[in-house]
């Protein structure tokens, strides 16, 4: 009898305990639901701080049934530009939810949270790769020892960065910097470091006439020795035509100062300036861009046998094979006549330089591009010592950092 009473009391205790537990859960669920409803209501009224507070409370009370709460919180943090918290709640939603459409939408919110960078004018690009050069040693200041022309491999890094300093009433100033560094496998004396600083003023004042003027300073070192410094002033005019055609005219004045070194003991003989005039005609179609160009240049050096007159021209083509695959080909021909005989030559030097280059560019993803390139240069001179052939094969990967 006593056992029977005890059993009943125990059963009653269990029923009371279960009911209490159930009631507590129901009360908590109701509270979470109420907080959620109030949070959404506050959000709809634009009171985002209050909405976030209410939804956070709902999340605390109902952490196991939180899909909708996380989604709403993610949206609210997106609206208030708190991207870290938006990511946290939208990621939690995506992990738990089966709704593919909403997950896709949440991805969109996470990808686009924060201010739009309206300043599209800044860039940092890094290009790095390997090159194989069949003719590293070309030393026209001394007669070339054909047997001495050496091939070598080298690693290259090329960094470019630029920004638009201002853009007011159609006049803008851009500033660019580039660094080129090569590291040879064997011929370390030819490791080159090249710096360029280039401010340009662009005038966007007319639909039919777009001029720009600029200046650049270039400084080059070979291994541990200074090689050259160049002050460069240039002007460019683009005249847009119809149906994707345009014509460009440019002028360039380069003041060149060289440094003597163990490798190039008579380098300063070539100090002087060069003026170049050029014109270019562009044709753009849906799949390709074509260009034809001509140029002429006068080079005046301290020693007249380095002074020369050049004229030349060429063509280039850029063809989009696929959306992410591009082929570019450039060919050029230049004739260069020197003003005086070289000290060791019986007649005046005249060079005909032919260049042909091709590059295949493949976009790997939104940051990286892979490029295979080959550039052939053949210089035929009436002085055998200056005749050379050079082939440069390159494999690069470039990255748009900004």
């Amino acid at each position: 009898m006593k056992d029977h009473v005890m059993s009943k009391l125990f059963l009653l205790f269990l029923i009371v305990l279960t009911s209490f537990s159930l009631a507590t859960d129901l009360y908590a669920a109701d509270s979470a639901g109420q907080y959620y409803a109030q949070g959404v209501d506050s959000a709809n009224k634009g009171d985002y701080e209050k909405a976030i507070s209410l939804l956070q409370r709902a999340l605390e009370l109902s952490p196991d049934d939180s899909d909708a709460i996380n989604f709403e919180l993610g949206r609210l943090y997106y609206i208030t530009d708190d991207c870290g918290m938006a990511d946290k709640h939208l990621s939690a939603f995506n992990s738990a939810s089966d709704d593919e459409n909403l997950k896709h939408y949440a991805d969109g919110l996470m990808d686009t949270c924060g201010e739009i960078s309206s300043d599209k004018s800044q860039h940092i690009d890094i290009l790095t790769g390997l090159q194989y050069d069949t003719n590293v040693l070309v030393e026209p200041t001394n007669p070339i020892d054909k047997a001495g022309q050496k091939s070598d491999a080298k690693a290259v890094i090329y960094l470019t960065a630029g920004t638009e300093v201002f853009d007011v009433d159609g006049i803008s100033l851009t500033a660019d910097y580039s660094l080129y560094q090569s590291l040879h496998y064997r011929l370390n004396d030819y490791n080159m470091q090249h710096h360029q600083i280039k401010p340009v003023i662009n005038f966007d004042l007319s639909d039919s006439f777009m001029p720009s003027v600029g200046y650049s300073y270039e400084f080059t070192r070979l291994e541990y020795d200074n090689y050259s410094s160049v002050h460069n002033v240039f002007a460019n005019v683009v005249v847009p035509g119809s149906e994707g055609r345009s014509t460009e005219f440019n002028y360039e004045w380069r003041n060149k100062r060289y440094s003597d070194s163990d490798l190039y003991p008579a380098n300063t003989e070539r100090d002087g300036y060069r003026q170049t005039f050029g014109a270019r005609y562009n044709i753009f179609t849906e799949e390709a861009a074509y260009g034809l160009f001509v140029k002429t240049a006068w080079d005046k050096a301290r020693k007249n046998y380095w002074s020369n007159h050049m004229y030349g021209g060429g063509a280039d083509l850029s063809y989009r094979i696929e959306d992410n695959l591009n082929l570019s080909v450039t060919t050029m021909l230049e004739n260069r006549r020197f003003d005086e005989n070289f000290p060791t030559a019986s007649h005046t030097r005249e060079d005909n330089l032919f260049g042909l280059s091709a590059e295949l560019t493949y976009m790997l993803n939104d940051m990286f591009t892979l490029t295979f390139a080959n550039a052939l240069t053949v210089n035929n001179s009436n002085l055998d010592d200056f005749t050379y052939k050079r082939n440069l094969t390159s494999l690069f990967i470039s990255m748009g950092v900004l």
Binding site: K45, G46, I79, N101, H104, Y105, G108, D111, T112, E115, I116, S118, S121, Q122, D125, L127, G129, V136, T141, G162, Y180, S182, H184, Y190, M192, H194, D204, S212, L222, Y227, P240, G244, S246, L263, N267, R270, N282, E286, A289, D299, A301, W306, S318, R320, N324, N326, S357, E359, T361, M363, N365, D366, M367, T369, T371, A373, R390, S398, M399, G400
Partner: protein, 227 residues
């Protein structure tokens, strides 16, 4: 006679709209947030915009210097306007049955960030038409005169671009990570990475050559030593 034709035409259009399930929504969406100088242009009236203010078809929203606005539409599409931008709700049709919309926004100036909700959404600019569904992207105008072009960066999904001028052939579908530009009078093009900021002139750009470093070497070798 002309009046009758007009009535018949309006009736046919109305029937088509009704039968499709889409109808002009009284309110297309609302401004979620406004920062600094944001204006609503309704008809000929330009007034200061307020958060939670409703937008209807043909309304335009304009932001001033260092100003921003976020707009939420009934289909959950979000438009974020950056500074010095102006966008117009050109068309907004909403189907309450399917809870989807067909919408056209006219980006008149500046840049917007778009998260597409339950909508077949189009952004029209001076040079391009961008058609999107379930995606997110930035779209902006740059350049002036014959240099004008529309560019877009895709964050997710796909966006189809074509020139606004139907006479210009060619369209392109840009995918996640792509930057696509549509010049005035030209076909849209994907811009290769590393050339995200190509110069605007000439009117269409050549891809930047990676042989430029080689050019440096060739440049200093003219008449002199090379590497």
């Amino acid at each position: 006679m002309k009046k009758n034709i007009l009535i018949i035409a309006v009736s046919i259009v109305s029937l088509l709209v009704i039968n499709s399930g889409y109808s002009y929504a009284a309110s297309a969406g609302k401004l979620l947030t406004v920062k600094n100088d944001v204006y609503i242009i309704r008809g000929d009236v330009k007034s200061d915009a307020q958060a939670q203010q409703s937008l209807i078809t043909s309304d335009a929203v304009e932001t001033g210097k260092k100003s921003r606005a976020k707009i939420l539409f009934k289909d959950d599409s979000l438009l974020n306007l950056s500074e010095l931008s102006r966008v117009e709700v050109q068309e907004y049709l909403y189907d309450s049955g399917t809870d989807r919309s067909k919408s056209i926004y006219n980006l008149i100036d500046g840049s917007i960030r778009v998260v597409v909700g339950r909508s077949d959404l189009e952004i029209h600019t001076a040079t391009a038409v961008a058609a999107a569904r379930g995606t997110s992207f930035d779209i902006w105008s740059e350049g002036k005169g014959k240099n004008l072009r529309t560019c877009s960066k895709i964050f997710g999904g796909q966006v189809k671009f074509k020139n606004k001028d139907d006479k210009v052939k060619g369209s392109i579908t840009a995918k996640k990570g792509d930057t696509c530009c549509t010049p005035l009078g030209g076909s849209p093009r994907i811009i290769p990475p590393g050339t995200q900021n190509p110069p605007i002139n000439p009117p269409q750009t050549r891809p930047k050559s990676v042989l430029q470093p080689i050019g440096i070497v060739l440049e200093i070798e003219e008449g002199g030593p090379t590497e």
